[in-house]
């Protein structure tokens, strides 16, 4: 044992134990894994969220100088300084923060007076700023020299042209609304309308014009009609090109001098530098989106391969969760160990997923589900894991090796990627082993439970269900359903619709879930909600005014800590300090409240004093602006802030008190009429009560008209959209799409025209040719293209012309009708009740049987036969016990061909009681039939009296049948082999050397191979004797006279000679027998296949690989052998070498039939699924879920057309596409009977073994194609 093998052994053992562990304690392990994931993801909380938000850095105002553009020079505090803080900023922003109020307030003032006069003062203030100049020793320095000179606005912003400054200083104030013209302001009748005229109505993400000009968020401005604090705030924003500390401090001191703010505590110590990241443009987005699309396609194609599990979606989800959480874990772990990610997470994420991959997960799933089903779940998981352990470890080692190589490229970015990938791989492995394996074990257990439920009723419902009359076809279906409550089945209608084209299926899905309507409705509701919330005159302002009113900020108590918006760099003590109000503030506030005689004294009775407070919430008011505020402002002038920074200087506070006279002077004449007096609460407290008075509500109503308009518009458009989609839905989905697939078959019929064959075009279906004549269910079928031979349970063999459907011969002659029906009805009914794997068959058969029994007795044609009606026993439950052992046998083998019960003793007893009048016949039947061949007396006897042959039929039924030329070979249950002439209906030869029943026959050229129930294999050869000498008895065999495709003339004497017997070909009964290309393949219940050479009966190979009895075998001229077993597996073998080519785990339950085309293997199983596999690779192409109980029969016409049997119909499928082409209903009366056997003839007609009738269906278009 080499080292590798040892290692391999050890790994596989470890995996085995691990699998046992996982499957034994699923819940604790999943909990443990979840805890691990959470623990590893915990460090992620510290990471900043990825995004393009701005980054801040603050420096003290004192000793500020612009950073030098050279990186190398900054040696000092390099650790704290961010790397973007290099060079001069784009601009310095100086804001002059104005708070103004009318004081004292008089009761007869209007609401508009709150802001009209304070706003009017802005013009004066702007003039002061504009004209400020610093006069010192070096000369006069005006604002024009230091301010940021802006040029044209962007051409696209024509409507802002009058509002934003051009060709001059960047100086923004609310006065820009009126072009900085006091006269315009005074003439403006409606200030609010002017301010709001450029506000967007939709959800805005960028800064609005109002925000730009006011320099603070709209809700802080106080310019609205229900401003209860009556304090108006705005800023004058000044953009500066250069930092001139002396000029700025002179401006600051002058403004403070002119408009003192005695209680202002704004800190003026820090310059905040704001760095903006690159905006993601469409050019960057497209590759990103592409990589994500590829990623999703990869995930889709990977998870699509998960198969044979209970919940495909659940496992797919678990797989994706495994990969994603392993990535999160890797990032978390890397952060924990101090490795901060510098790469763009969004960009490398798809590549990481692709590198880690979903392969292992899929391999695990496939390996586990392909373990034998009959094992315990624990063992299955353990076995599946240990089977794949080596390859998983090998792959893992390879990937780690590749990544290690990548690590040694010494490129930092690649090294970081590799580090993440390594940690990701390891954590992914951990999750696969613990999380996914456990989920898989739970899934498998659920599937086994479901299987158990599915199997149980089939066993339990052997006592037949209540018989229902055949005519009530539709009523019967609900009645049957309770019999099989746990089966997973499709509705018959959806079965027909199963292979609809994808787009129709998508639409069908939409229609079923009403997805479109619901989405639209939800969307409309959300949209309206957003509209209501964001409308400037709407809910949001109302809410905020309410909130600010009720907040105790203005009161003496400790104000709550307002956290400034924006991203604060952690660990900046100054800003932390600044948000805490200190006691002196409170003191000063209290002092100002007791200052009655400031301005407008003597009017205290008339109104209340208002005072302006400066609280911590006013600190750095620009933080409350949208982070796109500055970039959008500068982008109007075609200046980009991407990857650059601006420096924001501390604001200059300005407090304005206006006396009532001023307010009255600036009042516009129209306003007095339009606005009612602003009713303020009478108490001295400012806005303590929040009662919406009538006036303000009216005003609000006036303002909200636009809101209502927009809402109505939104509603209307939503309704129109819904209607439109509804119409589309009606157009796409015809009303009757659910009705038995009629529309579907009609559509498909257009694709399959039949007019070449005399059928009227698209409306007609393919009319099957029904061959009637058999009394009982047909058991065996054989055909050679020209003739068709069928044998029913009675043992009656009929020969049909495969072209015309005429019955040519009946063997034996139909005479004993009444008798046979009596006996074999009984036989039939009980033949089927145990074999039914579902309740469907049973009820059909039983109803069928019961009807026959109850039908009026037919006239007695033959009085010489005993009356056997007393033998009819309808108490099936008793029978079951008797025959239970045999039931098991039959469930294993091919059900059609075995009779489970020997009636000969029963019937024989009846005959004895009847009397001796027919004893001669009985004697005759036993003797001459056992006799050998060419006995002319027997031949004569046979021809003159058919009775012996009847007796023979009675004694044993035909279990297998084959046809070649004009000879029929029939194998009987008593081991007798008979050769009949198909045209004349005469027995040509017979051999009864074997005693065990012949379960399968192969008739190839002049050889007959018979497989018997005891596992032995007999090789016979047919030899003709010259017809000249009729009496020649056992003459020399003249092999040369036999043509290769023998057409035995009726005058020849045919001898069937046993040439070789393989007495113990198999330990157990042979269930499948096929021959092609000079090879004979047998499949048996002993789990093995054997390959024999036809010429010398030599056993070439014994093929082992199945873990259940062989149920289906296929071999063709290319020496490819396919076999299906009870274990649900399909094996492909190479017959030349005897090696197994591939092994597919195909079905849950037996593989019931198997066939191949040149490229596909098609199998059907007890689970009613038809699967189509790629022949060369063994990959499953797709599968078709069949209706219950009809998955067994299938046939292939040419390489592209598949025929399957259904309930009273056959369906044609296109193998290449998996599309249902057509469903042909086989007559009205038989609709409820399943088609059990399908035989494809050479002229592309199909024969279905269909109760007691045969149907010939021609597929004309196939002929067309074959030409």
């Amino acid at each position: 044992m080499t080292l590798t093998e040892k290692l391999r052994e050890r790994i596989s053992r470890a995996f085995y134990n691990h699998g046992l562990l996982c499957a034994s304690y699923p819940i604790p392990i999943i909990l443990f894994t979840g805890l691990c994931i959470l623990a590893c993801c915990y460090p992620l909380l510290k990471l900043p969220l990825p995004g393009t938000g701005p980054v801040e850095y603050s420096t003290p105002v004192k000793d500020y100088s612009p950073p030098s553009p050279d990186v190398g020079l900054q040696q000092g505090d390099l650790s704290e300084r961010p790397d973007w803080y290099v060079g001069a900023p784009v601009a310095y922003i100086q804001q002059i923060f104005v708070k103004a109020t009318v004081s004292p307030w008089q009761k007869n003032f209007l609401a508009v007076d709150v802001f009209r006069s304070p706003l009017s003062r802005v013009f004066q203030l702007v003039e002061e700023i504009r004209n400020h100049a610093l006069r010192d020793s070096s000369g006069v320095k005006s604002l024009e020299e230091v301010c940021l000179q802006v040029t044209d606005l962007l051409p696209g912003l024509k409507k802002l042209r009058n509002l934003l400054p051009e060709h001059g200083c960047l100086l923004l104030s609310p006065g820009n609304f009126w072009q900085n013209d006091r006269e315009r302001f005074n003439a403006d009748p409606d200030i609010i309308k002017t301010i709001h005229q450029h506000e967007p109505k939709t959800l805005q993400t960028s800064a609005t014009l109002k925000d730009l000009l006011f320099g603070l968020p709209g809700k802080y401005s106080g310019v609205n009609l229900y401003n209860r604090k009556r304090v108006v705030s705005y800023t004058v924003t000044l953009g500066l090109q250069r930092y001139d500390s002396r000029f700025l401090s002179s401006l600051r001191s002058r403004l403070k001098l002119l408009h003192p703010s005695p209680n202002c505590t704004l800190r003026e110590e820090n310059i905040v530098h704001v760095h903006f990241k690159e905006e993601i443009g469409i050019a960057e987005l497209i590759p990103l989106v592409t990589t994500y699309i590829i990623l999703f396609a990869y995930i889709y194609f990977s998870t699509r391969k998960i198969d044979m599990v209970k919940s495909k979606w659940g496992l797919a989800l678990a797989a994706v969760v495994t990969v994603l959480s392993s990535l999160l874990m890797s990032v978390g772990l890397c952060t924990l160990f101090g490795l901060t990610p510098t790469l763009n997470g969004g960009e490398i994420f798809p590549y990481l997923v692709v590198v880690i991959g979903l392969e292992n997960v899929l391999v695990l799933t496939k390996s586990v589900v392909s373990t034998p089903v009959d094992l315990e779940v624990k063992l299955r998981i353990a076995q599946g894991l240990s089977n794949e352990s080596w390859s998983i470890m090998k792959n893992m080692a390879t990937e780690l090796g590749i990544i290690l190589i990548g690590y040694f490229t010494l490129v930092p970015a690649i090294q970081e990627f590799c580090l993440f990938a390594v940690v990701g791989l390891v954590s992914d492995f951990f999750l696969q082993m613990f999380f996914f394996t456990t989920v898989l074990s739970i899934d498998i257990r659920r599937m086994e439970l479901a299987d158990l439920n599915k199997r149980l009723p089939a066993e339990a419902c052997m006592p037949p269900a209540k018989p229902v009359s055949r005519s009530q076809r539709y009523e019967r279906q609900p009645a049957m359903r309770p019999a099989t409550p746990h089966t997973i089945t499709l509705q018959p209608s959806s079965f027909r619709n199963l292979r609809l084209p994808k787009r129709l299926r998508v639409i069908y899905f939409f229609a079923r879930t009403r997805l479109a309507q619901r989405l639209i409705m939800a969307g409309t509701v959300i949209w309206i909600g957003i509209l209501v919330y964001t409308d400037p005159a709407g809910l949001r302002t109302y809410l905020t005014s309410q909130v600010t009113e009720q907040s105790p900020l203005g009161e003496a108590g400790l104000p709550p800590m307002p956290v400034p918006g924006g991203v604060l760099p952690a660990g900046d003590p100054k800003i932390d300090l600044s948000v805490f109000p200190s006691d002196p503030i409170q003191l000063s506030e209290n002092q100002t409240q007791q200052r009655p005689e400031g301005k407008g004294n003597g009017q205290t009775e008339l109104g209340t004093e208002a005072e302006v407070t400066w609280g911590p919430e006013d600190e750095e008011i620009w933080r409350k602006l949208s982070f796109r505020h500055w970039p959008s402002l500068f982008s109007y002038y075609n200046i980009t802030l991407a990857k650059r920074y601006i420096s924001i200087l501390p604001a200059i506070p300005v407090t304005l008190y206006l006396n009532p006279q001023e307010a009255l002077e600036v009042r516009h004449p129209q306003e007095a009429n339009r606005y009612h007096p602003f009713l303020s609460p009478s108490s001295g407290k400012l806005g303590a009560e929040a009662q919406p008075d009538q006036a303000s509500s009216k005003l609000q109503g006036h303002q909200d008209v636009t809101l209502y308009k927009v809402a109505a518009l939104g509603l209307a458009s939503g309704i129109i959209l819904v209607l439109l989609l509804f119409c589309l839905y009606r157009v796409f989905c015809p009303k009757n799409y659910g009705q038995n697939g009629l529309s579907h078959s009609r559509r498909k019929r257009g694709d399959l025209p039949c007019d070449d064959y005399g059928y009227s075009p698209p409306e007609t279906e393919i009319v099957p040719l029904v061959l009637r004549g058999h009394l009982m269910d047909i058991e065996c079928l054989a055909s050679d293209g020209m003739l068709l031979v069928s044998c029913c349970l009675v043992g009656q063999i009929r020969v049909w012309d495969a072209q015309t459907g005429d019955c040519l011969t009946v063997i034996p002659k139909p005479r004993l009708r009444r008798d046979s029906s009596g006996i074999f009805d009984y036989q039939e009914s009980w033949d089927h009740s145990p074999d039914g794997k579902n309740g469907l068959d049973d009820s059909f058969e039983n109803s069928h049987q019961l009807k026959r029994v109850l039908s009026p007795p037919q006239p007695l044609l033959f009085c010489d036969q005993p009356d056997l009606t007393s033998l009819i026993d309808t108490n099936f439950s008793e029978r079951v016990k008797v025959a239970e052992s045999e039931t098991r046998l039959r469930a294993v083998g091919s059900r059609q061909k075995e009779m489970g019960y020997d009636f000969s003793s029963l019937v024989g007893k009846a005959y004895e009681e009847h009397g001796t009048s027919n004893c001669v016949n009985f004697a005759g039947l036993s003797a001459p039939h056992g006799r050998s061949l060419g006995d002319e007396s027997f031949m004569g006897f046979d021809k003159s009296s058919p009775l012996p042959s009847w007796g023979g039929d009675l004694e044993s039924s035909v279990w297998s049948l084959d046809l070649q030329g004009n000879l029929i070979v029939a194998g009987r249950s008593n081991g007798k082999l008979e050769v009949w002439d198909a045209i004349e209906g005469t027995l040509r030869s017979s051999n009864d050397e074997g005693q065990s029943g012949i379960t399968a026959l192969v008739f190839l050229n002049n050889r007959i191979v018979a497989a018997r129930l005891n596992g032995s294999l007999d090789f016979f050869s047919l030899e003709t004797h010259t017809s000249l000498n009729h009496l020649q008895f056992r003459g020399a065999p003249s092999r040369s006279s036999i043509p290769s495709s023998p057409v035995f003339s009726s005058s020849d004497v045919i001898v069937c000679q046993l040439t070789h017997t393989v007495s113990c070909a198999h330990q157990k009964p042979i269930t499948a027998l096929k021959a092609a290309a000079g090879r004979l393949v047998t499949g048996s219940q002993d789990h093995t296949l054997r390959v024999f050479r036809l010429e010398d009966s030599c056993c070439l190979f014994t093929l082992q690989g199945h873990s259940g009895a062989i149920t289906a075998v296929y071999i063709d001229q290319t020496m490819v052998l396919a076999s299906g077993g009870q274990d649900g597996a399909i094996c492909l073998w190479d017959v030349l070498t005897g090696s197994k080519v591939s092994h597919m785990y195909a079905h849950r339950g037996d593989v019931t039939s198997l066939t191949c085309t040149t490229s596909c293997v098609i199998s059907s199983g007890l689970d009613d699924v038809i699967s189509i596999w790629d022949r060369s690779s063994g990959i499953k192409l797709y599968s078709i879920q069949q209706e219950l109980g009809c998955g067994a029969s299938l046939g292939v016409i040419s390489d592209n057309l598949l025929v399957t049997g259904g309930q009273g119909c056959v369906s044609f499928w296109d193998i290449g596409y998996g599309d249902l082409l057509q469903t042909v209903y086989l007559g009205k009366s038989n609709e409820s009977q399943p088609a059990r056997q399908i035989l494809v003839l050479e002229n592309a007609a199909i024969v279905c073994n269909f109760g007691s009738e045969l149907s010939l269906v021609y597929v004309p278009s196939v002929l067309e194609k074959l030409d």
């Binding site: 592409t290 990589t291 979903l358 490129v411 970015a413 060369s1176 596409y1217 082409l1221």
Partner: protein, 247 residues
């Protein structure tokens, strides 16, 4: 387009399975078209990556548009990818060794993702010098081949394609059609052959998968894809043609 001409020639009354038999030739055409559009799409996307790093220089007025290279680049890439994608399965057939290694769509998707990733790395990652970049990319390309192809014929064809394509781009640069910002290997970047090699492997992978699939199923689904691709084709041809012509 070609498939519009080919469609009416089918007999009207044929069922779908008949069409799949009679249209072996059409199959080839459809595959070619699909490959062409995949090539065009990848060329556009990857060009965007290159433009961001200013690796290639095209006349400046073109850069403003989304289709940021000259108009002839995507069709050329598309044609090349169609040829490569058809050549690979054809070569497999002639050599008589069908490519069986990882023949699944998920693997193809993985391959495409890795290819885009290689391009991404070449465009975005800062390398110390060009040698390092080229060596890394060469290793990545070989790794791509080893992971997704592993056939000697594929390797040979990939090398041939890389050689030819590098030669062609050198000729183009020599004649002044476009240029690289910092050529370090006979007018072009030294990593160019690696990218071409990886692209050849990727397109071959797609082509092989298409050849395997479209014989069996999905002619209609391919047609849908083609139509989707065609819908954005007219949106870009006129603008870029004009801007290219103005130059």
């Amino acid at each position: 387009m070609a498939e519009n001409d080919a469609m009416p020639t089918l007999p009207k009354k044929c069922g779908p399975y008949i069409s799949s038999v009679t249209s072996r030739g059409m199959n080839l055409v459809i595959r070619g078209i699909v490959l062409f559009f995949i090539g065009v799409f990848l060329a556009l996307v990857l060009n965007l990556l290159q433009i961001q790093r200013n690796v290639t220089l095209f006349p400046p007025d073109v850069i403003t548009s989304i289709f940021s290279s000259a108009w002839w680049v995507p069709p050329c890439c598309g044609t090349a990818s169609a040829v490569i994608g058809l050549l690979y399965p054809c070569m497999d057939r002639h050599l008589g060794e069908p490519h069986k290694f990882k023949r699944e769509w998920s693997s193809v998707m993985r391959c495409v993702a890795v290819f885009v990733g290689i391009n991404h790395a070449s465009a975005k990652v800062n390398f110390a010098n060009n040698i390092q970049l080229s060596l890394t990319l060469a290793a990545l390309s070989i790794g791509l081949w080893w992971t997704f192809d592993r056939s000697r014929s594929g390797f040979g064809l990939g090398i041939g394609i890389a050689f030819l394509a590098t030669l062609v781009s050198q000729l183009l640069v020599y004649n002044g059609v476009y240029q690289y910002t910092s050529p370090d290997f006979l007018y072009v970047r030294s990593w160019l052959p690696c990218i071409f090699f990886a692209g050849g492997i990727t397109m071959g992978n797609i082509g092989r998968q298409l050849a395997m699939v479209s014989l069996e199923q999905g002619v209609s689904c391919l047609l849908v894809k083609v139509l989707i691709y065609m819908s954005f084709l007219p949106s870009y041809i006129p603008t870029s043609y004009l801007s290219g012509g103005r130059r």
